[in-house]
């Protein structure tokens, strides 16, 4: 099990417990504001954009080239940006913090 903290754009935070699937699916099922997941997780819509806490980047790993190309043109993207549909939930992610983009 992994406990993931999502921080919405208005500053409110919510902890979600995940067992599998992607971080996008976890966020949507917990009603995290600002994570829409329009394309269902195929890396086509960028409505699952988050900023990973700098200290947690090691746990999530870097974006793939295809994801990087999407992020390059996403609003407010920085070196901590990820499309969270491209990150699988696993125990290794326990305790990480994600700030919803925008």
């Amino acid at each position: 099990m992994a406990k993931i903290t999502f921080i919405a754009s208005n500053g409110s935070s919510k902890i979600a417990e995940g067992f599998g699937g992607s971080l996008m699916e976890l966020a949507v099922s917990h009603g995290i504001q600002g994570i829409d997941g329009d394309c269902g997780g195929v890396c086509s819509c960028a409505t699952c954009h988050v900023h990973v806490a700098p200290g947690d980047m090691e746990k999530t790993g870097p974006a793939s080239d295809i994801e990087k190309d999407m992020l390059e043109l996403a609003d407010g993207a920085d070196e901590f940006s990820r499309l969270c549909c491209q990150i699988q939930v696993s125990d290794a992610l326990d305790g990480i913090q994600l700030r919803v983009a925008k």
């Binding site: 829409d36 329009d38 394309c39 269902g40 997780g41 195929v42 890396c43 086509s44 819509c45 793939s64 295809i66 190309d69 999407m70 043109l73 491209q86």
Partner: protein, 386 residues
């Protein structure tokens, strides 16, 4: 080649040059063919504007047949964002459970009407009624309205043989005018009423602005949805194993739908007007000339998509631009995705097999390029599952 296949006419020139030049009523268009260029150009509204003479960003140009500005489509940021903010929550309603249940009832009802093993013509007997009935949900208007929309035929602006048909557009415009007038004096619960009574930047929309939104809602969601629905039935006729696989693995419905949108690319391309002399794809483009973002070509970009010409229902990473990209990405995508997801789910439940009888291709001509976008008619038998 199977009837369901849509060949990619841009493969060679996309790899060689990355763009193609075509004429359109004396106002030529440079079509951009690579995924990266299409994305960058869509993002850069300052150099590539949508806010020009109404109708000019459409190919073939609609400048000579309309003056109404389509909103938010023909408006650039920041005003574009204000319009989008006003209508966005409404267009997200397809995410609600009740909406999806109603849509499922529409689709399964249609299957009951046509799936008896007798011959049907998919475009007119299935896709058009499905598109129209589903639109009553999106607009929140009575189901009876669908009959009238169906009577307009498959194209709101075009009719077979003539690329642009002004008289057809009049029918739509008059209808929308009447509905908006009605909504102005009597506020209902439909999209017409939202537009006449809602506010953007603290003021009400003019009737002309509201009309600009409604025309786009009717036009943008018609051929596109009809082609997506028709082509998916053709696909299952050609690849029955994909229908069987979805039956066994219904969790693939989402990737299957995204892959169909990529492969079908129901909207081939959309234009922009260049605001300053600049370069795209190492090619100089002049101020006031037109470029187009060719979603259909970008979606077959072999540098991004493995085996781009194969429709793989389990394609996991699929950064397609079938619904556009950046600011103007499709406002109707939430609805269109639900229509397609529910169509596949209901197919799994209700249909044993799609048997192809006869197909007549719908082929668009863009300069030297011939692109099959779907079918003028598709005769099949739908064998019900018992």
């Amino acid at each position: 080649m199977k009837e369901s296949e849509l060949p990619d006419p841009f493969a060679q020139i996309r790899a060689d040059k990355g763009y193609a030049e075509i004429d359109d009523q004396g106002d030529p268009v440079t079509m951009l063919l690579r995924l990266k260029d299409v994305r960058k150009t869509a993002h850069n509204y300052q150099a590539f504007t949508s806010e020009t003479v109404p109708g000019r960003i459409v190919v073939p140009s609609e400048v000579s047949i309309r003056n109404t500005r389509q909103i938010p489509f023909e408006v650039d940021p920041p005003m574009h964002g204000a319009y989008r903010a006003m209508v966005e929550p409404w267009f997200k309603r397809p995410l609600e459970e009740q909406y999806q249940e109603q849509l499922a009832a529409i689709v399964s009802g249609l299957f009951t009407e046509v799936a008896g093993g007798e011959k049907i013509e998919v475009v007119h007997d299935f896709a058009l009624p499905l598109q129209s009935r589903a639109l009553t949900l999106l607009l929140n208007t009575p189901m009876e309205e669908a009959a009238r929309w169906i009577s307009w035929g498959t194209h709101v602006f075009r009719s077979e043989g003539e690329a642009l048909d002004g008289s057809k557009a009049d029918v739509l415009y008059d209808y929308i005018d009447a509905k908006l007038k009605e909504a102005e004096s009597h506020r209902g619960e439909d999209l017409f009423s939202l537009l006449m009574h809602g506010e953007v930047h603290g003021r009400k929309l003019s009737r002309e602005e509201a009309k600009g939104v409604m025309v786009l809602t009717f036009a943008g969601g018609r051929d596109t949805v009809i082609n997506a629905v028709t082509n998916s039935l053709a696909h299952f006729a050609g690849y029955p194993e994909d229908l069987e696989r979805l039956r066994r693995e219904p969790e693939l419905v989402n990737t299957a739908v995204e892959e169909m949108i990529r492969y079908f690319s129901p909207l081939t391309h959309m234009g922009r007007v260049v605001t300053q002399d600049t370069q795209v794809c190492e090619h100089a483009v002049k101020a006031d000339s037109r470029v187009s973002l060719c979603w259909a070509s970008a979606n077959r970009d072999e540098t991004v998509f493995e085996e781009p010409d194969r429709l793989k229902i389990d394609r996991k990473v699929n950064p397609h631009v079938g619904f556009g990209f950046s600011h103007h990405n499709c406002l109707g995508a939430t609805h269109a995705r639900q229509v397609m997801r529910i169509l596949l789910k209901e197919m799994i439940q209700n249909i044993e097999k799609v048997e192809l009888v006869e197909a007549r291709d719908n082929i668009e001509v863009w300069g030297d390029f011939h692109r099959k976008v779907g079918f003028h008619s598709l005769q099949v038998r739908l064998h019900p599952k018992n």
